[in-house]
Amino acid sequence: MAPDESLLAPDEGVPAQAAQAPQGGLRIRRISATPGHSLELGPDGAPAPRTGPEYAKLIDISRCIGCKGCEVACKEWNELGVEPTENFGSMQSHRDLSPDTWLLMRFNEIEIDDDLQWLIKKDACLHCEEPGCLYACPAPGAIVQYENGIVDFNQEQCIGCQLCVSGCPFDIPRFNPESKKVFKCNMCIDRVEAGLEPACVKTCPTNAISWGTKEDMLRLAEKKLEGLAARGFENATLYDPSGVGGTHMMYVVPHGDQLEEYDLPADPTAAPGALATLGSLRQLGASALGLGLLATALHYLGFGPQEPEPEGVQSGTGAGTADGEADGEADPRTDA
């Protein structure tokens, strides 16, 4: 499959590491602070069609038993550190997500119509189609969205400004004050790239987590909702919020009328953020003004990159070559 030039050739300086697909085959959809990679600015201003599969994880909350096996699988696979925890009057392991805890099962006991409900929700990045984190990020390449739907943070390029944290409508990214970098779930991108499901999907003993193309997961969700309705969950719903363009981690929510009890915002939106600002600047003639204006824009935002890698940025060719090589060699998508 021939690489789509509009997606692959960065005309705005993109740090080589960011543009380079980690394993060679991943195609990029958007790059933080890099409007040339934004689909909104694709040919004719229309979003370019995907050329490979779009993946999604589907969490069936009604099947989860709260064993937290997925939390351990996540830590094991991603080699995340052990954190000291304490029981704070709950079966929940940690109080909150952290740079070392990308996935947290949140427990909430409520009574609905005098009936006790133990709500257990998997809290982790939803991999938004319109990622507020990426839109807000001023550091080129620190956040990358791949065509398969995964939104990945690239700590090498992260400048620690934490704008992604305020840009995320789900309160997901977590800042590590020591390394001054931000972390979150990367959907086990290395596994996905190798044709495997994410570690949490693999480990779940009740099949509460499914994995496949977004299309298949939507179909599966429909079936699950029918089943829940037949069991009397008349408010059961699919959580795939349109305010962020839909997500690549979706939930089947048994009590769809109680989203706030699951800590799921009813109407999340992705603020346009830095990407849009840069996009407008670019339309104003950023290509002519070149890097100078971009740098000004970044400076104006107050968060200039700390490691700008001047060669790659200025010429654009170094990054482009690396990118081209990486993508040229690889099978665009090793289909699962």
């Binding site: 038993i65 052990v82 925890t85 029981n87 079966m91 940690h94 006991e109």
Partner: protein
């Protein structure tokens, strides 16, 4: 657990659920006569009728050529214990000072049994104690338990660091009776030996002592077969083959327990596992995923005893004509000349009308009641030994009259609910596996602290806030931990009175990377009348904010 009981890691049975001989059974013939059931109706398979084949093949596996019809196949080499050797009885013996030493292999008895304060006294009465385990256990360092003064304890403890199951090959049997072979994943640390090496050394050193010094009744030790490539450390495959059994005339491994004989020409270390390691190889290591019936039988995956049958009593899934009761979920089906589906309960060509559906009972049919229960044949309601309420069915006999009472135990029980008004129950949590996970950082992270689940209404009544420390005590001991206040535990109305239940998890002790109260500080030293399983699930406590 399934594999452990299959291989007789419980009192009263030999491998394959054969009976431990009693002192009254003074000959092989008398043991076989009393242990082999007779069919009660015609056309009953009565599979236990094969008992002599299983026992004699077991004796041949253990003692080889040294036994035969002339010496009753070594029947007299078997111990014939007079008393029972159940958990509670064993520790009661120690408590009375009648047990000299104890070997704990892969087990943490101090935390696993009821009434830890009593167990600590019992352990302190031992002269020596050997603990064989991958981790330094609470049981090995019982002299360091809270409230114990090491100076008071004279017991010599020997700790033998042994491999963990990830550090060696072997098999697991799950509750569905699937024996699945696994490979060694990592090397053991330096100085750590396999339990097969440890047990072999124990055997050889005892045997060498007998050879040098002689001794009373040395035959069972001297005649025990130990024919392995490396007799100081048998390979697990060799043991698995020995368990499977072989034909002594041909030297070939057997493929089915149907081939076992009672004339000394076959061996089998456990008749249920015959067929698990055959001339074709290690059946437990198979990983075929085919499932042609779609019923989840997966006959090419591992080995399921007996005979690779995946569902026991599958004959009962079909009607008198051999047709499935539920056609959408067939167990087995009679085609007119054979059974298809799962491995059938009896011969693949035995017509449906020629044998009863329940092959292991003497009557060939299912049982609504049994004569095997000491308090049977019918079930009866008894209250726990500590109960918040009278037994309104029969107030004079509130608890099971056939419970065995050990000396001094009645004194450790609450007398009514005045001082101990709440019911307490002990359980596990899904994040942890007994005590070994106290050493696994990621799992400790998930479930870090000992806690007490307190029902919402009771917490309100006692002014206990979620997350506060609470103290819970029974007449035997106490625990302290974080209160997890929950609406999941509802009050019970028992005989018109509100009865609150609190819950405590069993996974904590004083060793490992997480430490906390031992739940069994609270539990009573009383066992079920039939199984001797301790009464962990209902007893009385009191509770206050700490």
């Amino acid at each position: 657990m399934q594999g452990a009981t299959d291989h007789a890691i419980v009192a009263g049975i030999l491998p394959g659920y054969l009976s431990v001989p009693s002192p009254a059974q003074t000959s092989l013939a008398s043991h076989l006569a009393e242990s082999t059931p007779k069919p009660l109706v015609p056309d009953t398979v009565n599979y236990w009728g094969n008992y002599p084949k299983f026992l004699i093949s077991l004796l041949k596996a253990w003692f080889g050529d040294t036994v035969g019809p002339e010496n009753e196949y070594g029947y007299h080499y078997l111990a014939k214990p007079a008393g029972d050797a159940t958990w509670l009885s064993m520790w009661d013996q120690a408590h009375q000072g009648k047990l000299e030493g104890l070997v704990a292999l892969g087990f943490n008895p101090l935390l696993a049994g009821p009434d830890v304060p009593r167990l600590l006294q019992a352990m302190a009465n031992l002269k020596w104690k050997v603990v064989i385990d991958p981790f330094m256990l609470d049981s090995a360092e019982f002299w360091r338990a809270p409230d114990v003064d090491p100076a008071d304890i004279q017991t010599e403890v020997l700790f033998l660091p042994a491999t963990h199951w990830v550090e060696r090959a072997g098999s697991f049997t799950n509750s569905g009776r699937w024996a699945q072979w696994k490979e060694q994943a990592i090397d053991p640390p330096d100085g750590v030996r396999s339990d097969t090496w440890i047990l072999s050394e124990l055997f050889w050193r005892v045997k060498e002592l007998y050879e040098e010094e002689g001794g009373a009744y040395h035959e069972p030790i001297l005649n025990l077969q130990w024919n392995y490539l490396n007799p100081r450390e048998p390979r697990l495959e060799e043991l698995a083959q020995e368990i499977n059994g072989s034909d002594l005339r041909t030297g070939e491994l057997l493929s089915s327990f149907g081939q076992l004989r009672d004339d000394g020409t076959t061996t089998s270390g456990n008749w249920l596992y015959t067929g698990s390691f055959t001339e074709e190889g290690n059946m437990m290591a198979r990983r075929g995923t085919d499932d042609p019936s779609g019923m989840g039988f997966h006959h090419d995956w591992g080995f399921s005893w007996p005979a690779n049958r995946r569902v026991l009593y599958n004959r009962a899934s079909a009607d008198a004509d051999g047709q499935p009761w539920d056609a959408s979920r067939p167990g087995i089906r009679w085609t007119g000349d054979k059974w298809i589906g799962d491995v059938p309960d009896y011969g693949p060509t035995t017509p449906p009308d020629q044998a009863g559906a329940f092959i292991m009972t003497e009557e060939g049919v299912a049982r609504l009641f049994t004569t095997y229960l000491v308090d049977g044949p019918f079930s009866e309601h008894y209250e726990p030994v500590e109960s918040p309420t009278p037994n309104i069915l029969h107030e004079d006999v509130p608890t099971n009259p056939l419970i065995h009472w050990y000396d001094g135990v009645r004194e450790t029980l609450a007398n009514g609910r005045d001082d101990y008004p709440y019911v307490c129950t002990v359980y596990r949590v899904v994040e942890r596996e007994h005590f070994v996970t106290s050493n696994v950082p990621y799992l400790v992270e998930l479930m870090p602290d000992f806690f007490v689940e307190v029902p919402y209404g009771l917490a309100e009544e006692k002014g206990i806030e979620n997350g506060e420390q609470v103290r819970v005590w029974s007449k035997r001991g106490e625990v302290q931990g974080v209160a997890v206040v929950t609406k999941r535990i509802k009050p019970l109305i028992v005989n018109g009175e509100t009865c609150w239940t609190v819950g405590v998890p069993v996974h904590w002790g004083f060793k490992g990377i997480t430490t906390g109260s031992m739940a069994n500080n609270l539990t009573p030293f009383v066992g079920d009348a039939n199984t001797s399983c301790p009464e962990f699930k209902a007893f009385l406590v009191n509770m206050e904010k700490a």
